[in-house]
């Protein structure tokens, strides 16, 4: 039951495009990111990193480095007691392997840390890196997923065939028969390139042992404060209480920081060993080549369709190149599980079977990158729709329409075992298709200048988010994420402090959480301050990822606010000698319905703190409450369309125009929602046309700077128009669904669809991202269907 002010005069903050309270400090340059946190005496860390992709370490000689003035220490794995991090799933199909904090015995990718140098400045620390010598015997590296089959030396001895996770979660004995009798079977292999999230702020930390508190205080740029605490405590043999993780402003996360890196643990270990503060800020080379990557996947798919274009069944063999190690805490099972489970998207698929594997390689470990496997599964499902439409001679929107889960199908249970709550899947498709027509894109396609070819793409999809413990428990991680606990305290001035275990990396939680609480307390959002990112200050929580924060953290805050509102009404009732049921909280006042009597909330707060002797009927002191939320998880949905142009001369691709229909339930702040959509699309365009963390056959990274890892600039971005539908989800009190990843999810599918539309006169299909000018040149060189017939 939601307690909202009922009076027409009350201000409703949810839904307002409120300017963010975070903005002022960022605009003044007084935001404080990890490397901005001052510390007069901190030493600086830098890492000696392997130039070899795969080999056995014969020796490391740190002595010459110690001769350099200003070098305090150089530590190797043995100095850290061979500490490790192990991200694993407790299931038979998962092979458990450890990631040493510093390489021990073997190196498994270029950039793997061999030693940590501690010096009085970063400059001296980098000098010292050059002075450390080592001998490594090389093996043939495993770079592509098929390399594992022909290389005798496995990356991990525990997994001789290189397969760290092999899931057959969905089986169907009748699928082969169904496919054999289908009118058409689309049999295709789709691939996606390796990516790096590339937040503008790389990773970084500052660690200091504080004797007074018997605590290692680690300031770190992360999305997961409490999981970083747990990982550091486990790796260093400390109690949870002995590690305090503080997260200041975070300069972008995108899943890249939903992890604990070995460098943060090494810095923490060094600070503890030396009993001196140590700091580290990742440089861009380290970030691009020696941190975490993701999304290098291959889908071999067979999809059966009737003559009318209705899906009959789908078989998928999914392989994910998960790199050299299983990341903590989400493991190398993250991409394969999501790909298999959420593959079917917004479509009704009667029969489904899949196998999904995580295959080790001599590349940095994979971790979540915004959307994880969803950009790829949507690219595959939409690619199948386009292929089937082409082969059956059905309009591309029409074939989607025939397969989409409809309003009357909800709650819909698919062969993936998920029950879908109401969404606007068909409505989004229809609205998007109508907008394409209204925008005159077909006309614009025909108006392409000589030497230019245009095409239109469409992609209809969902975004699963806000996974609670009921859903996450199925993964069988040793710790199951999902719930959040929020605390609220109103002080003597009537200002409210809210704490949450979620952790903003630019999403504007300080603004949106305050909007949710404000409506329930009848006060303005600027009276509510969110404190986050401090394990000593907030209750245990699960951080920010997978569209969970506003849903689960905000949902918990809503419960806490509703409970605090009850307290305020009860105190007001005592002070005004009325029944609490007759009191409403409106515009900063507790007001008695029908009488006009009221008392300001500030006055209530003052009374509770300073004159509590007046409140003889109260059992509790102060104004504090908590709330929790743990939804099972939900789907937001959307439909994207893109108009693209190919320059046949340069083979460059430009996205000319972009349309979005988005349904994320109740919108708390339209400014923030649209910002998430636009930013996500920029990343999706990057993944589709520009970005790839590519490697040479001997495992050397080829994209080590922003000269070669091409993050889109303003010049690559199209105008984007956004239309909203609103199908609330009441797994929490707010009706909110998560939506932070939709942009990245839709863009690859829709741009690929548009390119294939542009190239439809040729008998060729693009089934991979990124699409490079070389790909376009190859396809343009093919004869057109007319020429070949």
């Amino acid at each position: 039951m939601v307690t909202l002010p009922t009076s027409g005069e009350s201000q409703q903050w949810v839904g307002q495009p409120l300017q963010r309270r975070e903005d002022a400090r960022f605009l003044r340059g007084t935001g404080r990111y990890t490397d901005d946190v001052p510390h007069a005496f901190a030493l600086h860390a830098a890492f000696v990193r392997s130039p070899i992709a795969f080999g056995v370490i014969r020796s490391i000689d740190v002595r010459p480095a110690l001769e350099i003035p200003g070098v305090i220490a150089v530590l190797t794995s043995a100095d850290l007691g061979h500490a490790t991090l192990t991200g694993f799933l407790d299931r038979d199909e998962f092979i458990k392997t450890a990631m040493p904090i510093l390489a021990n015995e073997r190196v498994r990718f270029v950039g793997e840390p061999l030693a940590i140098v501690i010096a009085t400045s970063r400059y001296i620390a980098e000098d010292a890196i050059e002075a450390v010598s080592y001998e490594i015997d090389e093996f043939d590296p495993i770079v592509a997923m098929d390399d594992a089959q022909r290389t005798p030396q496995p990356i991990h001895d525990e997994a001789p065939d290189g397969v760290l996770v092999d899931l057959r979660m969905f089986n169907d004995d009748e699928l082969e028969e169904v496919l054999a009798t289908s009118h058409v079977v689309v049999d295709e292999t789709f691939r996606s390139g390796r990516l790096q999230a590339a937040p503008m702020e790389g990773r970084g930390c500052l660690a200091e042992w504080i004797d007074r508190d018997d605590q290692l205080v680690v300031t770190v740029s992360t999305q997961l404060p409490h999981q970083v605490r747990t990982g550091i405590a486990q790796a260093l043999g400390l109690a949870e209480r002995q590690v305090r993780v503080i997260v200041p402003d975070v300069g972008g996360g995108f899943g890249f920081k939903a992890v604990l890196g070995r460098e943060e643990v090494a810095v923490a270990a060094a600070a503890r060993i030396l009993r001196r503060p140590v700091r580290w800020a990742e440089d861009r080379l380290e970030s691009l080549t020696a941190s975490f990557q993701g999304r290098e996947q291959e889908y071999t798919v067979r999809a059966g369709f009737t003559e009318d274009g209705v899906l009959t069944g789908l078989a998928a063999d999914i392989r994910c190149n998960i790199g050299a190690y299983s990341a903590f805490p989400f493991t190398c099972g993250l991409e394969p599980i999501m790909a298999a489970t959420e593959f079917l998207g917004v479509y009704k698929v009667p029969r489904y079977a899949s196998r999904s594997r995580g295959i080790a390689s001599n590349k940095p470990p994979s971790n979540a990158y915004r959307g994880v496997s969803r950009p790829q599964i949507v690219m595959v499902m939409e690619g199948l729709m386009d292929r089937a439409a082409d082969r059956l001679g059905i309009d591309r929107v029409e074939i989607r329409r025939r397969n989409t889960i409809r309003a009357e199908d909800f709650p819909y249970s698919g062969p993936n075992g998920i029950t879908y709550e109401p969404g606007s899947y068909l409505e989004a498709l229809e609205l998007c298709a109508a907008q394409v027509e209204a925008a005159g894109w077909r006309q614009r396609c025909e108006e392409a200048a000589p030497g230019f070819i245009r095409g239109i793409g469409i992609a209809n999809f969902s975004e699963r988010n806000a996974y609670g413990t009921a859903t996450m428990g199925l993964r069988r991680m040793p710790m199951t994420p999902g719930f959040e606990v929020a605390h609220l305290a109103m002080d003597a001035s009537g200002d409210v402090t809210l704490t949450s275990g979620t952790c903003s990396a630019g999403q504007g939680h300080e603004t949106t959480f305050a909007q949710i609480v404000a409506d329930r307390l009848g006060i303005a959002p600027d009276r509510i301050q969110l404190r986050q990112g401090d394990t000593d200050l907030t209750s245990f929580g699960w951080g920010t990822f997978a569209g969970r924060s506003l849903v689960i953290g905000g949902g918990a805050a809503a419960v806490a606010a509703r409970r605090l509102a009850v307290q305020l009404r009860e105190v007001a009732a005592q002070l005004l000698s009325v029944d609490a049921d007759d009191v409403e909280l409106v515009n900063g006042h507790a007001r008695v319905r029908g009488t006009g009597a009221s008392i300001s909330i500030d006055e209530i707060a003052k009374t509770v703190h300073f004159r509590s002797h007046l409140l003889t009927d109260r059992e509790e002191y102060l104004l504090e409450s908590h709330g929790s939320a743990d939804p099972s998880g939900m789907f937001s949905n959307g439909c994207h369309a893109a108009l693209v142009e190919i320059d046949a001369g340069t083979c460059a691709v430009q996205v000319l125009d972009y349309l979005v229909v988005e349904d994320c339930g109740v919108i708390v702040n339209p400014l923030v929602v649209d910002g998430q959509v636009r930013g996500g699309i920029a990343q999706g365009i990057g993944a589709t046309l520009y970005e790839e963390a590519s490697y040479s056959p001997d495992g050397q990274p080829l994209a080590g700077s922003f000269m070669s890892y091409l993050v889109p600039t303003a010049a690559e971005m199209p105008p984007i128009s956004i239309h909203h539908l609103e199908t609330p989800c009441y797994q929490t009190e707010t009706g909110v669904k998560g939506m932070g990843e939709a942009g990245t999810i839709g863009a690859p599918a829709v741009i690929l669809s548009a390119l294939n539309d542009a190239l439809r006169s040729r008998d060729a299909w693009l089934e991979h991202v990124p699409v490079t000018p070389a790909d376009i040149q190859r396809l343009l060189a093919l004869p057109t269907k007319m020429e070949s017939s």
């Binding site: 903005d23 605009l27 003044r28 503008m200 300069g251 630019g506 636009r678 303003a714």
Partner: protein
């Protein structure tokens, strides 16, 4: 490593006498020696532009300039914008247009735009977009940044002294 040198630097109107190694970047001089951490370091190879500051009114990458090269110059950083406490028109426009999310690239974009608008009083939106492509933002998709700069350019042009 050659010997440290003494340089003078005027930053946001304040004169500083600083002793630096020749290899010390201007970004580190500003951030570490002067505590002006609003200038962020995003790539250290001149592409992302997060460290953009104005040196003698010209936008420069503070990661590509050594402190010794800035000797005798006047530098303006993001901390020098809202001098009397109130956000400038450009800063306010950035907030209105949601031109920032994580905020890490924001100081670089602000300084880039201030340098640009000082010499290009009436740019069209296409030119602004081209100019803004000098810097990287990973959060916003750039529309808000372009819109904010265009709006401020138009407003300042209308308000210019005749």
């Amino acid at each position: 490593m050659s010997e440290s040198r003494e340089i003078t630097l005027t930053v946001n109107g304040e004169r500083h006498l600083i002793v630096v190694e020749p290899r010390r970047t201007l970004a580190d001089v500003l951030r570490i020696d002067l505590g002006l951490t609003g200038t962020h370091v995003g790539c250290e190879h001149g592409i992302c532009g997060a460290c953009t500051v104005l040196m003698d009114d010209e936008p420069v990458r503070a990661c590509l300039i050594f402190g010794v090269q800035a000797d005798g110059s006047s530098v303006r950083t993001v901390e020098g914008l809202a001098v009397k406490g109130e956000l400038t028109d450009l800063q306010q426009a950035f907030s209105r247009h949601h031109a920032l999310q994580c905020g890490f690239c924001t100081p670089g974009f602000l300084m880039l735009a201030e340098g640009y608008l000082a010499t290009t009083p009436a740019p069209d939106p296409v030119a602004v977009r081209e100019m803004a492509s000098a810097n990287l933002c990973r959060c916003t998709g750039y529309q808000g940044i372009v819109d904010a700069i265009v709006e401020v350019a138009e407003h300042r042009f209308r308000q210019r002294p005749i």
